[in-house]
């Protein structure tokens, strides 16, 4: 087989793997669901046009030349998309290093590894870009329908952004490997992926709070200060915005830059990809040293179970990164809270839904890890402990963890608005309890390492968990401003949770 044939053959293999992985994610690993998944996806894409219209429809008429404020907003939006794609790409690269079962096969084959890994890098870039194109389609459609075919160039911008994000992700991950070693890279890369995704929006919110006393990130982007500090209209910085508006020269430059970046990364890092992969697999085979021996602790059986859960949660890299992300999301409201001590503001109400929403989402993840992600299910099932005691101990772990994480924020709120603090505390408890109940009703026996796929096991549970958190968040805000509307919101959320229970496989 010639070198070119071998490369194209390997590229086909990589694309087939990526396609099947994506299909498995959509269908929950059940091939019979493919048709239903396709129909669901088409309906979802069609429905996505509505929020896309609401968010972006009014900008369809934008024409060059743009004023500085519009340029800042558009460029920031492209940067946000780039940050999100970078986050996804870092996650993909880490997965290739640590989770692909075929590295031994590839590295023991007589194929030239630099070529093979060049293809793999290209496949990562293609996957990230394809996903971004898919997600951006409703938004671009809305712009094309409202503003004409010139907006089709947005697909080109998304492609360029995807290529450069993949290139940066590969470079960042390999540099991390070199700097801190494979043992820490996995955790740090996961944290980085989480932080980069949310970091830009949070940074804007923080700036908005500190400068303008509002949570709206647009306050910064549309401010006079931003306009004053922004470079002139002919700056390279605005080329993504020009490309979006249909400037073909700017678009070609962006695409070329994306391709060159990826090419450079492939040329520099492909030969090192193999070494990095070997280090990662060698790390997987070695053991991490725990703390030295200490005395066994006494306590009830439930206490033993709770201790084990807390120990495992504390050692879970996913949880560490997710908790950090949730805490990052809480930084703006916490800052807002701190500012409000000196300057009481009606906008303080906004803090409660943010806290309640974060509590619901985190509780859902924690509940999956403790209830479904039981690595030694047989051991726990054969222990002399009734199933109800086991479940209760696991629920207690979730609720205690949520309490510990969110209590400081609620306590700070007590000093400012005691009533709001009470309502927020109740919202946190109810949202966490609802998310935990949903995970309990839809529990499946799985390994903790399968957490990434938890959302594919039941779409109903995933959506119900999200809607329940949103519902309780909305209710907590409405209680403070329009109590009668809060009753309606609470009833709707209860109905969602009740309907979820009705459709659940375990009505216990």
């Amino acid at each position: 087989m010639s070198s070119a044939t071998a490369l194209s053959w390997f590229a086909r293999h990589e694309l087939r793997l990526a396609w099947r992985e994506w299909l498995a994610m959509m269908t929950g690993g059940r091939r019979r669901r493919t048709r239903a998944a396709v129909i669901g996806l088409v309906i979802f894409a069609a429905l996505m046009h509505l929020p896309a219209w609401a968010v972006i429809g009014r900008y369809a008429g934008l024409q060059a030349p743009l004023d500085k404020t519009s340029l800042i907003v558009m460029t920031s939006t492209v940067f946000l998309a780039w940050a999100l794609m970078l986050s996804q790409a870092i996650e993909s690269v880490t997965r290739v290093f640590y989770a692909r079962a075929d590295l031994d096969l590839i590295m023991s084959s007589p194929a030239k590894l630099a070529n093979v890994f060049s293809v793999r890098i290209a496949a990562i870039a293609l996957t990230v870009t394809a996903m971004a194109l898919l997600l951006s389609t409703p938004f671009v459609d809305v712009l094309v329908l409202g503003g004409g075919a010139r907006w089709l160039s947005a697909f080109g911008v998304v492609t360029a952004v995807g290529l450069s994000a993949a290139a940066f992700a590969i470079a960042i991950t390999i540099v991390l490997f070199r700097l801190i070693g494979p043992a820490r890279t996995r955790l740090i890369a996961q944290i980085l992926a989480a932080v980069i995704g949310a970091g830009f929006v949070i940074a804007l919110q923080i700036a908005a709070i500190l400068s303008y006393g509002t949570l709206s990130r647009f306050a910064v982007l549309t401010s006079d200060a931003a306009t004053a500090y922004a470079p002139g209209a002919d700056s390279l910085l605005w080329w993504p915005a020009h490309a979006l508006l249909g400037d073909s020269q700017a678009l070609l430059l962006l695409l070329s830059m994306g391709l060159v970046l990826l090419g450079v990364v492939m040329a520099i890092f492909s030969p090192r990809f193999a070494d990095t992969a070997i280090s990662a697999s060698a790390h997987a085979a070695s053991s991490r040293q725990g703390k030295g021996a200490r005395a066994f602790r006494s306590g009830s059986r439930q206490q033993a179970l709770r201790r084990k859960e807390f120990l495992l949660l504390g050692r879970d890299p996913w949880l560490v990164s997710q908790t950090l992300m949730q805490l990052l999301y809480l930084v703006p409201p916490a800052l807002f809270l701190w500012r409000s001590f000196s300057d009481s503001s009606a906008a303080l109400v906004l803090i409660s839904p943010v806290i309640v929403m974060a509590a619901g989402q985190l509780a859902g993840g924690l509940a999956w890890l403790t209830i479904s992600g039981e690595d030694a299910a047989d051991l726990v099932a054969t222990a002399p402990l009734s199933p109800s005691h086991v479940t209760r101990a696991k629920i207690e772990v979730v609720m205690i963890s949520i309490g510990v994480i969110f209590a400081p924020l609620v306590a700070a709120l007590v000093f400012l608005e005691p009533l709001q603090a009470m309502i927020t505390a109740a919202g946190v408890a109810i949202a966490a309890a609802s998310a935990t109940a949903i995970q309990l009703w839809f529990r499946v026996q799985a390994k903790r390492s399968q957490f990434r796929r938890r959302q594919t096991s039941s779409r109903i549970a995933t959506f119900a968990e999200a809607f329940s958190s949103i519902g309780w968040a909305a209710t907590s805000a409405l209680v403070l401003v329009v109590p009668i509307a809060a009753v309606v919101s609470a009833l709707m959320t209860i109905a969602i949770v009740a309907a979820t229970w009705k459709f659940s496989p375990r009505r216990e």
């Binding site: 991490r288 005395a295 299910a377 099932a381 054969t382």
Partner: protein, 250 residues
């Protein structure tokens, strides 16, 4: 035989999935006995043991463990039992000592007793250099040894093992066999499924041959030979003959 001298009594134990997996199985295992359950793939060995361990609910029949009705009082039955499967289920993020501390806590064993027992067990299984390492980097054999130590740390009266020697090297397999032999000599009852007929032949006091969910033969090796009219055949030959007979009869 009464309930006092039997460690395990199964009566009419039945389980159906897509097909009948266990077919009204009657089985009695004496206290202090090493019993090997052998049979072809899909014969119902694992399903039977999972029902005994409380991991599967039978469709019909009874399970009696040291006089305790395991279906009506599973917690009391589980207190005296331990289960080890062929796929060791341990926690990657715990060290062997932390795992054993957790298991001992689940069975309500006093820490003063379980700590020294855990240490002795891990040392006897050759895991001393790895006591404080997380299990995530362990080989399958090492994981199986940790799981086995977990099963023994609460000093069970009945140990149920499903293919416990799978994935173990010769030295580790000898360690495990030695440990199980010690437990039986100390009065513990062991029931084990295995595909390694040589192990059943050497270690078991009695052997049960199961096929299509039913016990087709049972006894010591000598009794099995006598029942089948062979005087000098290996267990492997006997096993093949019995399973072949059962298949022809079906």
């Amino acid at each position: 035989m009464n309930g006092q001298t039997s460690a395990l009594q199964l009566r009419g134990l039945t389980k159906r999935f897509d097909r009948l997996a266990v077919d009204a199985l009657d089985l009695t295992i004496r206290s202090g006995e090493f019993y090997a359950l052998v049979g072809p793939n899909g014969a119902g060995k694992t399903t039977t043991l999972r029902m005994v361990a409380g991991l599967l609910k039978p469709d019909a029949g009874s399970v009696d463990v040291f006089g305790i009705d395991a279906l009506n009082d599973p917690v009391a039955a589980k207190q005296v039992m331990a289960w080890v499967s062929d796929e060791p289920m341990i926690y990657d993020k715990l060290t062997p000592l932390e795992y054993l501390e957790f298991v001992a806590g689940l069975w309500g064993i006093e820490p003063s007793v379980s700590q020294s027992c855990a240490h002795t067990l891990l040392v006897s299984l050759g895991l001393e250099p790895h006591l404080d390492e997380r299990c995530e980097g362990f080989s399958k054999g090492m994981r199986q040894k940790v799981a086995l130590a977990g099963a023994l740390v609460h000093d069970p009266r009945l140990i149920i093992l499903d293919e416990p020697l799978t994935g173990l090297d010769a030295v580790s397999a000898r360690h495990v066999k030695g440990l199980l032999g010690e437990r039986v000599r100390a009065g513990c009852t062991v029931i084990m499924t295995t595909h390694i007929l040589e192990v059943a032949e050497r270690m078991a006091d009695r052997i049960g041959v199961i096929a299509s969910g039913r016990l087709v033969a049972e006894g010591t090796l000598a009794e099995l030979r006598q029942q089948n009219g062979h005087t000098d055949t290996s267990l492997e030959d006997l096993f093949i003959a019995l399973v072949h007979e059962k298949a022809e009869a079906a």
